[in-house]
């Protein structure tokens, strides 16, 4: 009994901090609240039937996006906590250990559980519609990918109250992250949650690549595809080549920690630098995985709202291809200071700078798209326009960091923190916000309130620059990253205080956005045409929200922006709509992806605690599910009969 109590209070539950107890209570209350609401309104069945078992790419996309926004909230709170701690010198809001945990979970969550799922959600929502596919190539696998991500996110978030948070940074450098210097369970949670979500991402990469290569509408050549679809294809290829490296690195560190191997220890022949290399061989391409789809969204949004075809379409494609290839040969720029020698550093410095060339080409193409056009200042477009100057600041300071000798000055300083937030927020986050506003009607059938959207936009824009621009200067003045407090005489106080104000402005912007979503659900303008923005690409051809089968009939889609030109041609749209409707084959829902991923969670949880038996139970369950699926799932799917399709289309006013 005593032993059990000791285990529970010393190993299982995180104890000792008032903030943690607060979180315990909050989690318990929220869970009970959710269970109560679901039961009270008798929504269990609906939840299971419509969402948890769905294989529809649009619904899976929406679930990804909801989860990503929740994670943006969690990661954002972490950010605000860190900024509050640093607003004045010598504050005691967080102690050193807690600060370590928070910057670690902040970074990890933002990159892997916010940016990635946001992007994959956008892709799920829009890409199949843009190419006229009925679903992705492997809908069942798509559901598995989502639930892997979801349960992995739960695993990581759980570490906060059970077991202990990871605290070695999102880069998890060895030997710091090894058992010797970092005993306890936190790091295990990092390793296993990343492993599980990584498997899901890899599956998504395969899925999207096959979908795009094999399931395009009749006539649509590769060079006719919308730019967002192009960015998805290239991103998927990067995923397929980069993620296995992460898988291996995580597995090795897990084996080091749990089974005492020596991949990254400094004893028995292991080499900690091996981790830095493997991590960034994945990690650098990863930053292009999170930026290229955003580039795709900006291209769509800018060309739609300037009413012009994207300038330099094929140049845009080729520059993305070039960026993706270069992204694999620059990884050492993350550790110029770790003793690689001048020749190696020069090579990686120059290859890094080369990326600026195709990126610059893209920026000029966007500017030329906007030139001489009638710009419509919708909220989606404002996010896209704001991206340009802010991203340029991030990009130029990136080139400064690529100058290896100079990097000895900037390395791991706040200058770096400013740089990558300028790239990640102005690139990825603005991109996701633009996409959210742009495709919202396609997802939910109504438009987000433009006025609230603009208020949120300006709050973010001011807050973002006030928060991160001064960081360049404190960085140059010598403030390093990952420090939990600083002395009053360092001369950093006023800039730090300003940064914190900016961070809270973004926080208020986030709250306005949440209010905008709630408000628009009630009062938002309904989209009855399916084409609220006078769009150019295929997703605007079907009703909003798109029906289960996406398109009743498919016209010939050869040519760039075919829908736009169809609208100019008299009678072309009517002619396509009057095509003969045939019954459509769709995949069936399944509860197995959900359950199987719970088993992944169980296996992961077991490994975190080094309860090997529990891990084996989980893994055996997964294997069993795979065998059952193979042996007994006839993969039938169902057919939507013609009269149902006709009724749906008539109700949407399309027949």
């Amino acid at each position: 009994m005593d032993q059990l109590m000791h285990f529970l209070t010393h190993k299982f539950f995180v104890t000792g901090e008032p903030m943690i107890y607060g979180a315990d209570v909050a989690i318990a209350v929220a869970t009970i609240g959710i269970l109560f609401v679901l039961t009270y309104f008798k929504k269990w069945k609906w939840l299971w039937r419509e969402w948890l078992t769905t294989v529809d790419h649009k619904k899976i996309g929406i679930m990804y996006i909801i989860a990503a926004i929740l994670m943006l909230f969690r990661g954002g709170i972490d950010g605000l906590l860190m900024r509050s701690q640093l607003s004045f010198p010598g504050l005691k809001l967080l102690d050193a250990q807690h600060y370590n945990e928070i910057f670690t979970t902040h970074g990890t969550i933002m990159i892997l559980f916010m940016a990635m799922p946001f992007i994959i959600g956008m892709i799920n929502v829009a890409m199949p519609l843009q190419i006229g596919a009925r679903d992705v190539a492997f809908p069942y696998l798509n559901a598995i990918s989502f639930w892997l991500f979801f349960w992995a996110a739960m695993l990581l978030n759980l570490s906060f109250v059970i077991g202990g948070s990871p605290d070695a940074g999102w880069t998890s450098y060895t030997p710091l992250a090894e058992n010797g210097l970092d005993p306890g369970l936190g790091e295990n949670f990092y390793l296993l949650s990343l492993q599980i979500t990584g498997i899901g991402t890899l599956a998504s990469g395969v899925n999207f690549a096959v979908t795009i290569l094999k399931m395009r509408a009749p006539g649509m050549k590769l060079m006719h595809m919308p730019m967002f679809t192009w960015s998805t294809l290239i991103t998927s290829v990067i995923i397929v080549f980069a993620f296995p490296v992460l898988t291996v690195a995580l597995a090795m560190l897990t084996i080091d920690r749990i089974f005492g191997a020596h991949f990254f220890t400094s004893t028995a022949g292991g080499d900690p630098m091996m981790w830095a290399n493997l991590f960034w061989v994945w990690g650098h391409p990863e930053v292009y995985i999170v930026i290229l789809p955003a580039f795709g969204i900006f291209s769509e949004v800018m060309s739609t709202f300037s009413g012009k075809r994207l300038f330099g379409y094929s140049m845009m494609v080729w520059s993305m291809v070039l960026i993706s290839a270069l992204s694999f040969i620059v990884w050492v720029h993350h550790f110029f200071t770790m003793g690689a020698g001048p020749a190696v550093n020069s090579f990686f410095g120059v290859s890094t700078m080369l990326i600026a060339i195709p990126t610059g080409v893209k920026l000029f193409n966007w500017l030329f798209t906007l030139r001489h056009s009638k710009i419509r200042f919708t909220v989606a477009h404002m996010w896209a326009l704001a991206f340009i100057p802010n991203f340029v600041i991030g990009g130029l300071t990136g080139v400064m960091l690529a100058v290896a000798p100079a990097d000895y000055q900037y390395h791991n300083s706040y200058f770096l923190i400013a740089h990558f937030h300028y790239v990640l927020i102005a690139g990825t986050v603005f991109g996701m916000f633009a996409g959210l506003h742009y495709w919202w009607p396609k997802m939910f059938g109504h438009i987000l309130d433009e006025k609230l959207g603009k208020i949120a936009f300006w709050l973010w824009m001011v807050g973002f620059n006030v928060c991160f621009f001064p960081m360049y200067f404190v960085g140059l003045q010598g403030m390093t990253r990952r420090m939990y407090t600083y002395p009053a005489n360092a001369g950093w106080t006023s800039l730090n205080f300003i940064e914190t104000i900016g961070a809270f402005l973004m926080g208020i912007g986030f709250i306005v956005m949440v209010w905008m979503i709630i408000y628009s659900a009630r009062h938002g303008e309904r989209d009855v045409t399916g084409d609220p923005w006078d769009g150019r690409t295929m997703e605007w051809m079907t009703s909003s929200p798109a029906p289960e089968y996406n398109f009743a009939t498919l016209p010939d889609m050869s040519g760039i922006d075919r829908f736009w030109y169809m609208k100019q041609e008299k009678g072309a749209v009517e002619k396509w709509r009057k095509q003969k409707i045939e019954e459509i084959h769709m995949p069936d829902n399944s509860g197995r992806p959900f359950i199987m991923c719970v088993l992944f969670f169980i296996a992961g949880f077991g490994l975190c605690f080094e309860w090997i038996w529990l891990a084996i139970v989980g893994l055996a369950g997964i294997l069993l599910f795979m065998v059952l699926r193979s042996l007994f799932d006839p993969d039938e799917g169902h057919h939507i009969p013609v009269d149902v399709i006709e009724r749906t289309e008539r109700e949407a006013g399309r027949l």
């Binding site: 089974f259 191997a261 020596h262 220890t265 080499d271 193979s630 993969d635």
Partner: protein
């Protein structure tokens, strides 16, 4: 296939439906990821080849006879797996099953020998904890061994389905894909043979 889906009679059965074509193509893309996975493991092994930390070296451990037999078993199984695919194309259910069984028995022999080899090393005091070299060795060869074991389970499942449902577009696809997988594992083994065993003995 149980789908009421159009079947194209002019191509091999496994390619005859949209579903089949997608999955086979998807599997090739997945193999791209597998190549990267093994490439990473090979790199680690080669970097750590001499990081033996005073523990046993490759020359101390590797037994030429053992890994030669393993190689022989696996390469033969690739050949028999090819015959199985040939029988599949001929629509010969019995032939397909028999050759798949032979293939998986050879694979099982391989896995058995490998386990034996590992147990032997552990008895000699060469474990994953001994040195970075051995960590690299066990994870590379072990990952391949796990893949082969999984392939065996998978093949058993395919055999059950072929004997239950006969050769149709679904089972043809499954048998075809497991065949690709098996050949892939053989190719990886050829690299292990060269990069791990031969290099280990020579360098």
């Amino acid at each position: 296939m149980s789908h009421a889906e159009a079947v194209d009679p002019n191509v091999p059965l496994e390619y005859s439906t949209e579903h089949g074509r997608l999955r086979i193509f998807g599997f090739w893309v997945f193999l791209g990821a597998e190549i990267v996975l093994f490439a990473t493991l090979f790199t680690t092994y080669l970097i750590y080849l001499h990081h033996t930390a005073g523990g046993p070296t490759a020359k101390d451990l590797f037994d030429v006879k053992g890994f030669t037999i393993e190689t022989f078993l696996l390469l033969t199984s690739s050949f028999t797996c090819g015959i199985a695919t040939h029988e599949l194309r001929r629509g010969n259910r019995g032939g397909l099953i028999v050759w798949l069984i032979i293939t998986l028995l050879l694979g099982a022999g391989f896995v058995g020998m490998e386990i034996n080899e590992f147990v032997d090393y552990v008895h000699q005091g060469a474990t994953i904890q001994t040195s970075a070299f051995l960590s690299g060795f066990f994870i590379l060869v072990g990952t391949h061994g796990c893949h082969v074991s999984l392939g065996i389970l998978w093949m058993i499942s395919v055999i059950i389905q072929v004997s239950k449902n006969g050769i149709n577009s679904t089972t043809a696809r499954k048998a075809f894909i497991v065949g690709i997988y098996w050949h892939f594992l053989d190719v990886v083994w050829v690299f292990i043979f060269t990069a791990v065993y031969l290099t280990g003995l020579v360098l």
